[in-house]
């Protein structure tokens, strides 16, 4: 079941790769929060990774928070294990926490389908955008423009003009 635009996003409490626990409520006062379901092994998630990371860097000074969540079944996909997440963050430059949804409950509550699947929440924790970062994983010059537009409109207090797009990526690997 997916949350709909305007609805309050589900609360969660997940560990990042440093062992710190994060929740949406930690962001009381943040003007916008971006929740991105992603993973280690999906080519779509990997292709968009730099663009999403750059969004985290570009908007950090304005108080926007970006949380990346990996919900894939690590038993069948060891490359998405908690340890593999830690190794990846140690190896790469991550400007955002990488959270482990081991039970997959958060992904289910959000209605995430693929990686990457992007959700933008406003200051009240209400969903304002859901979908892909931009129109084409294969065009870095797109710069996650759909995501940036949504954040800009949330920051401006405006209605998000493109509140939903079709997320494109690898299906989330649900436990069987």
């Amino acid at each position: 079941m997916a949350i709909s635009i305007g609805a309050e996003a589900p609360e969660f409490s997940l560990l990042d790769t440093e062992g710190r626990r994060w929740s949406v409520a930690d962001y009381d006062g943040a003007p916008a929060t971006v929740v991105v379901f992603t993973c280690n092994h999906c080519p779509y998630a990997l292709a968009w990774q730099d663009r999403i990371a750059q969004v985290a860097r570009d908007y950090a000074a304005r108080g926007v928070r970006v949380l990346a969540i990996n919900a894939n079944d690590a038993e069948r996909y060891p490359r998405d294990s908690y340890q593999a997440m830690k190794d990846r963050v140690a190896r790469e430059d991550w400007p955002m926490p990488y959270l482990h949804d081991a039970t997959q409950e958060v992904a289910r509550e959000y209605g995430a389908k693929v990686t990457p699947d992007v959700f933008v929440l406003d200051a009240q924790g209400r969903l304002r955008y859901r979908g892909a970062p931009d129109a084409d994983y294969d065009k870095p010059q797109e710069r996650a423009s759909w995501l940036r537009d949504a954040i800009d409109e949330v920051l401006a207090g405006a209605i998000v003009s493109r509140p939903e797009t079709k997320p494109v990526g690898c299906s989330i690997k649900w436990k069987q």
């Binding site: 999906c42 080519p43 996909y77 994983y137 494109v168």
Partner: protein, 110 residues
């Protein structure tokens, strides 16, 4: 020449990969070559086919991009590298074209 595309429904790249294969064949004057498709449905299918991700393109039974040691057999989307280093869910079109060209040349020799 035998061209086969193995695919899994969890990846949205199948249609684009198929288009690229057909386009490459057309550019090489090989439009008459039929592209066979085979869906990989289960982990068992993946093991049997040595399937390391979708899409996998076999030309005369040989993987267009030989699987790296760290690639796991199973139902997943395959990570390819473009010639410029970018990650992609489908092979670089130049790699595809060159592999098809080589296969066509082998077929002529034989």
């Amino acid at each position: 020449m035998n061209v086969e595309l193995l695919w899994w429904e969890g990846c949205p790249s199948t249609e684009r990969a198929l288009e690229e294969v057909r386009e490459a064949l057309s550019e090489l004057g090989l439009s008459h070559v039929e592209v066979h498709t085979r869906e990989i449905l289960t982990d068992g299918d993946a093991r049997e086919a040595g399937f390391v991700g979708s899409p996998t393109i076999l030309i005369d039974g040989v993987d267009l991009v030989p699987a790296a040691a760290e690639e796991h057999i199973g139902l997943s989307c395959r990570v390819y590298r473009r010639r410029d280093g970018r990650v992609s869910p489908i092979p670089d079109p130049d790699d595809l074209r060159e592999a098809l060209q080589r296969a066509a040349e082998r077929a002529e020799v034989n």
